[in-house]
């Protein structure tokens, strides 16, 4: 039976945190890419945006649908935002979880990416975000880098983890 759902690489952040986590030299041998993540940022907000860049470039459009426990909203953007994650004023030890799915990542057409991210902290505000991201570059994706948005050079905190999988359709 084919090995169609394969771990390519993983990264768990150590003590002190890091500014970003990058998967590079992604092989072109799969059909789709899937990243599963568990994240907390040092940013001082309860929730803060997570961003991703592909191949070090910037040519993004996004659309999100987000619920906070009190309201639901939708918006558009032209930045690298892919969802909200817990900041360092969220309840201690809470991490946001989610996954990013990119079909046909080696294709010569613009990439359409689906991201599902959630936080929960037993407090007044949490975030559930579905994000559609379009990346206009038509070259194959060979790297992706995740980082926290927000001021003050926030870091991805210790125990943050990413798992990159490759999926084949044959």
């Amino acid at each position: 039976m084919p090995n169609t759902y394969t771990l390519i690489a993983s990264n768990t952040v150590g003590s002190g945190g890091v500014a970003s986590v990058t998967f590079s030299s992604i092989p072109a041998t799969y059909t789709d890419l899937l990243v599963k993540f568990s994240i907390r940022t040092s940013n001082s907000n309860v929730g803060q945006g997570l961003k991703v860049t592909y191949n070090g470039a910037s040519a993004y459009v996004n659309r999100f649908l987000e619920g906070t426990g009190a309201a639901v909203s939708s918006g558009n953007g032209t930045d690298e935002f892919i969802g909200d994650i817990p900041g360092n004023t969220a309840t201690a030890s809470t991490f946001g979880n989610g996954e990013l799915y990119m079909p046909n990542y080696t294709s010569s057409v613009a990439k359409s990416i689906l991201i599902d991210a959630v936080t929960e902290n037993n407090a007044t505000t949490a975030y559930q975000t579905l994000t559609a991201q379009s990346y206009a570059i038509t070259s194959a994706i060979t790297s992706m880098s995740f980082a926290s948005m927000g001021s003050g050079s926030p870091t991805l905190m210790q125990y943050t983890s990413f798992y990159l999988y490759g999926i084949k359709n044959s």
Partner: protein, 164 residues
């Protein structure tokens, strides 16, 4: 999820000739769940409709939560002749994942969960659930647009997930 044998590609279709529908038939009953991944676009603005086993009766319903970039809305369709997840997409590349649980059982009605991603004009990011009121095992799935065609090169991939 364990790597390898629990996530198996069953079939892939790449559209051509301005197709308006795509069908996966003779789906084996050997898995627990089915996943269908769509990546592509349509010639205008269109929903993507689904039917099972060629059933054209009013046996489908769906409920959706979606955002178009300015507003979030929820709605539903009942006693329809297809699952209409309300997650319209358009001329720019879009993606959705459809998950059909316990598709081969012959006791319960069948649910399908959708997550959809589109930034095209008049399109949505969102989630939906569809119901087929039939206890038959699903052996075929048909997808069709609502009035447009799939842009050539759009892909549908059917995966089977086996309980470990």
């Amino acid at each position: 999820m364990a790597a390898g044998s629990t996530y198996t590609p069953i079939a892939t279709t790449t559209t051509s000739g301005n197709a308006t529908s795509v069908t996966f038939s003779s789906i084996p009953a050997t898995y627990t769940d089915l996943i269908i991944l769509f990546n592509g676009s349509v010639s205008g603005t269109s929903g993507d409709l689904a039917q099972f086993n060629g059933d054209t009766g009013s046996n489908y319903s769906s409920t959706f939560l979606r955002g178009d970039g300015s507003a979030a809305t929820s709605g539903r369709v009942t006693s329809s002749t297809f699952i209409n997840p309300g997650l319209t997409f358009g001329t720019s590349q879009s993606t959705y994942i459809m998950h059909i649980m316990n598709y081969a059982n012959t006791t319960t009605y069948k649910n399908a969960l959708y997550l959809s991603s589109s930034v095209a004009s008049s399109s949505y990011v969102g989630a939906a659930v569809g119901l087929w009121r039939s206890t038959a095992a699903i052996n075929a799935v048909n997808f069709s647009t609502s009035g447009t065609n799939y842009v050539n090169g759009s892909t549908f991939t059917l995966y089977g997930i086996a309980a470990a």
